[in-house]
């Protein structure tokens, strides 16, 4: 029987952790005051995993682009039919999502939490693929890919990643392409499932209105009853991505009202430990907040010059073996905005990060951290991310409190460098005036 231990946290929220049969980590966040419960089962496997594991951690056989996402779709069908209908019959809504480094399956329900939890566990660990069902899904996913093809935010983003990276699979579109998904077969799906969906590579989180002991016991019984081979947590092999960017600029015409810009910076500082990872992540986020939040003088200047508007945004993403900052905007003059941004970055690097600005950004971060506890969904998402990154929830505030302006200044100089940058632009079609 799984033993549950309390997870300490500064907010004082009830959080319990245990390890279920076959090595599946379980987090429980009972919230008796809530009406619904939210369950999420996630694997540390996503679009980055473009190769099957090989012996000794060497890169193995390449699989078609988009297969992690395809697998996510296909798990919703098993021998008894459509799994989402089973959730509906239990009063739950369900969904799933594939990201770079993880794939997650979740349900939300106001009733029958235990039956829904059992359904979640059983369907994710019980794959069933046929040639016919794979062919049918190709038609559906083709429509999904076409929908993304029309989304300017998505297109400008992946055009930028293709510029920043030569080989790294982060440059691959998460859903793949209409061509690559046609190469997906039931056999390949089975091999990916066996390799990446082992409980030891996964985490289960349940938050909301339920009985913690009963749910833990049910998850324990359900997993114990399933036949699952020996497996372990998956570590991605090194890619050998060169430090340079693949190209400095990509530009194309698109059905947009105004030019869309994404300016990206490829991160060369790859973390050596989980805490190192967290430091890199938080330092960069706070730095971007200091430089570009609406309270910054830089933001004000660009806004008043008419170069940016509310669509302006700066964010950082990364995993163990890559990281990038993206500054996105809708602007009439992308090249002028890029030039102004580089002037601004040089200026900020010369002057250093003001202490008062840093304190504001950190306080904002602390406020956002508290706010994440408002919903079972957002807390579950944070727990899954922390689990895969091997850090504790409270490390987020702990590390944020350790950082100084000197850390941010160093990061600015080391990361936001022109030679590590690339630009992606979508321009309205020449005939758009006819609209």
């Amino acid at each position: 029987m799984t033993k549950l231990e309390a997870v300490p946290n500064t907010i004082g929220e009830t959080l319990l952790k245990g390890v279920l049969p076959h090595g599946l980590t379980l987090y429980l966040n009972p919230r008796p005051e809530f009406s619904r419960s939210f369950g999420m089962l996630a694997t540390h496997y996503g679009s980055l995993d473009s190769r099957l594991p090989a012996a000794g951690g060497a890169p193995g056989e390449a699989v078609p682009e988009g297969i992690a996402h395809f697998l996510e779709h296909k798990l919703f069908e098993d021998q008894q039919g459509d799994v989402s209908l089973r959730f509906s019959a239990l009063g739950a809504s369900c969904n799933a999502g594939t990201e770079f480094a993880k794939t997650s399956y979740h349900f939300s329900t106001a009733e029958k939490v235990e039956e829904n939890l059992e359904t979640l566990i059983r369907f994710v660990y019980d794959p069933w693929f046929t040639a016919e069902s794979v062919a049918k899904e190709q038609g559906i996913i083709e429509q999904e890919i076409r929908m993304y093809d029309d989304d300017p935010d998505w297109v400008v983003f992946f055009n930028l990643l293709e510029s920043l990276y030569h080989f790294h699979p982060v440059r691959i579109n998460i859903a793949g392409t209409v061509q690559t998904i046609r190469r997906i077969t039931p056999e390949l799906l089975h091999r990916c499932h066996t390799a990446f969906y082992h409980p030891a590579n996964m985490v289960l989180v349940l938050g909301g209105a339920f009985d913690a002991e009963r749910c833990a016991a049910l998850a324990d019984r359900t997993l114990a009853s399933m036949k699952i081979g020996v497996g372990s947590a998956w570590s991605r092999p090194a890619i050998g991505e060169p430090p340079t960017v693949a190209r400095r600029r990509s530009e194309r015409e698109f059905a947009v009202a105004r030019p869309q810009l994404a300016l990206g910076f490829k991160d060369l500082d790859l973390p050596k430990s989980p805490r190192d990872f967290l430091r890199r992540d938080l330092t960069t986020r706070l730095l971007l907040d200091v430089l570009f939040s609406p309270s910054s003088p830089h933001h004000q200047r660009l806004y008043e010059a008419g170069l940016i508007d509310d669509a302006f945004d700066a964010s950082y993403s990364g995993e163990d073996d890559f990281g990038f900052t993206i500054i996105g905007a809708e602007t009439d003059d992308p090249d002028r905005l890029v030039a102004e941004l580089f002037v601004l970055l040089r200026d900020a690097a010369a002057k250093g990060i003001p202490e008062a600005d840093f304190t504001l950004a950190r306080n904002r971060f602390l406020g956002r951290f508290v706010r994440a506890f408002n919903s079972a969904e957002s807390l579950a998402g944070a727990l899954v991310t922390c689990h895969f990154r091997k850090v504790a929830l409270d490390d987020l505030t702990g590390v944020a409190m350790e950082l100084t302006t000197a850390d941010l200044s160093r990061r600015l100089v080391a990361h936001l460098r022109e030679e590590q940058s690339a630009v992606s632009i979508l321009r309205p079609k020449a005939d758009a005036a006819a609209r």
Partner: protein, 445 residues
């Protein structure tokens, strides 16, 4: 069954101040934050653009915080208290909403005072914007007018939003329901400083206003805020409670607009007869739309996507304030007629025969779960009450759930007869990628 208990509106405590402001408070310690929302409503009109512009002008500065950066900094210094505005449509009404969310002080190091200063800032934004000789500064006004026009133009970037507004344009023309909530590019371009001042004055002094608060509050605390914000009496006519318009006249219309899109958007509108609707039918309409196209189990999803692989999404929704049933699908251009036929077939089938027990049961459960889920977020609680206020059916969550649970198959058939014939079929169409599908499973060229 309107919940008419004195001092209550559904699950909220309710009061009307001497000035005529409606205050709704849901005291709870369920969240780590306090939420306060101010809502003004007015019939949608050609003044939509001016009204939508006002919140963007307010944030550009106040007497004490003269720039946008100063205002942002003041909020950020309160541990990222967030202030935002939105303008959206509710039936025939345009709603302007100002929203303030602050973190509960007890969760922060040193328990700093946050809420009172954040409310004071909100008040400053609303009542003391930075003005020059009674007008928004010319450069600020010109820039926000330009940004507003660009925001309207940017709706083209999201092809579903764009297609939906085109459907409304075609179906409702000049009727308030069809007017773009942010106004049109032409209206934005024509705005003058005086229009903005007039729209701002309406917010301050004239339009009906509601204050919603969710968090660790007492009703009296929020009433005090209402009194402090809005002391002089406001005209008490609810301008937004307009008479329901007659059904838009005209023949059914098929409009295909070509664009460079990879996935075509096929959407339709049908008018729904809402006359003498009782409470049971009101909820049955919601369940009807759920059976037709509200989720994985629905008729449209199962038929168009799962059985025929003709779409990534296929759904239906029903506006119970104006009485319109919408369907929408993301398809390949070559499949337009086939998808249209499948949609029509499902609508006809719900008119001719009651839904199956299992689909009815699933839909009721999903709707109840969805309704309960709204109460797991402060914003959801406000939206539930506001939907009830707009429809004139304010109920507690439990009453809503009981009524949904009571909807029968016969009720669905009864309301299915209220759905009119298709009024508009709109398709934002790209190039066809494959030959028309006529076999289950779709066909590749």
């Amino acid at each position: 069954m309107v919940d008419a208990a004195p001092g209550r509106a559904g699950d909220f405590l309710a009061a009307r101040t001497r000035a005529g402001v409606d205050v709704f408070v849901l005291p709870t310690r369920k969240f780590k934050t306090k939420l306060v929302r101010l809502h003004w409503r007015t019939p949608s009109s050609r003044r939509n653009a001016a009204r939508a512009l006002v919140p963007n002008l307010m944030r550009r500065g106040t007497r004490r915080h003269p720039s946008m950066a100063d205002v942002s900094r003041a909020f950020e210094s309160l541990y990222g208290s967030s202030w935002s505005s939105s303008v959206y449509k509710h039936g025939q009404a345009q709603i302007t909403s100002l929203r303030l969310e602050t973190v509960e002080e007890r969760f922060l190091p040193g328990k700093p005072a946050i809420f009172a200063p954040a409310v004071a800032l909100m008040r400053e934004l609303l009542f003391e914007p930075h003005l020059v000789r009674g007008a928004f500064p010319e450069d600020v006004f010109a820039q926000e007018r330009l940004n507003h026009r660009r925001e309207i133009e940017a709706q083209y970037n999201d092809k579903m939003t764009w297609a939906f507004q085109r459907l409304l344009d075609v179906t409702f023309g000049e009727e308030p329901y069809g007017l773009p909530v942010l106004g049109t590019v032409e209206q934005a371009n024509a705005l003058q400083g005086g229009d903005a001042i007039a729209a701002w004055t309406d917010l301050k002094e004239r339009l009906p206003v509601r204050i919603f608060a969710v968090g660790d509050f007492a009703l009296a605390e929020v009433e005090a805020i209402a009194d402090e914000f809005f002391a002089p009496a406001r005209p008490d006519a609810d301008a937004a409670a307009a008479v329901r318009p007659p059904p838009a006249a005209g023949e059914p219309r098929l409009l295909i607009e070509r664009d460079d899109v990879s996935q075509s958007k096929l959407i339709t509108a049908r008018l729904v007869d809402l006359s003498d609707l009782d409470e049971r039918e009101f909820d049955a309409l919601r369940v009807y739309a759920g059976v037709l196209g509200g989720g994985f189990h629905s008729r449209m999803f199962q038929s168009i996507r799962e059985k025929h692989s003709l779409a990534y999404f296929a759904s239906a929704s029903l506006d119970r304030l104006r009485g319109v049933l919408f369907t929408s699908c993301g398809i390949d251009a070559s499949d337009r007629e086939k998808v249209g036929e499948l949609t029509e077939k499902e609508i006809a089938s719900l008119r001719d025969a009651p839904p199956r027990d299992d689909e009815l049961e699933q839909t009721r459960r999903l709707m109840i779960s969805g309704a309960r889920g709204m109460f797991d977020s402060a914003g959801g609680m406000v939206e539930t009450l506001e939907a009830g206020l707009s429809a004139g059916r304010v109920r507690t969550l439990d009453a809503i759930c009981r009524s949904l649970a009571a909807v029968t198959a016969a009720d669905i058939t009864r309301v299915a007869r209220r759905i009119g014939p298709v009024r508009t079929i709109y398709c934002l169409e790209g190039a066809a990628r494959h030959a028309a599908a006529d076999e289950p499973g779709g066909g590749e060229a």
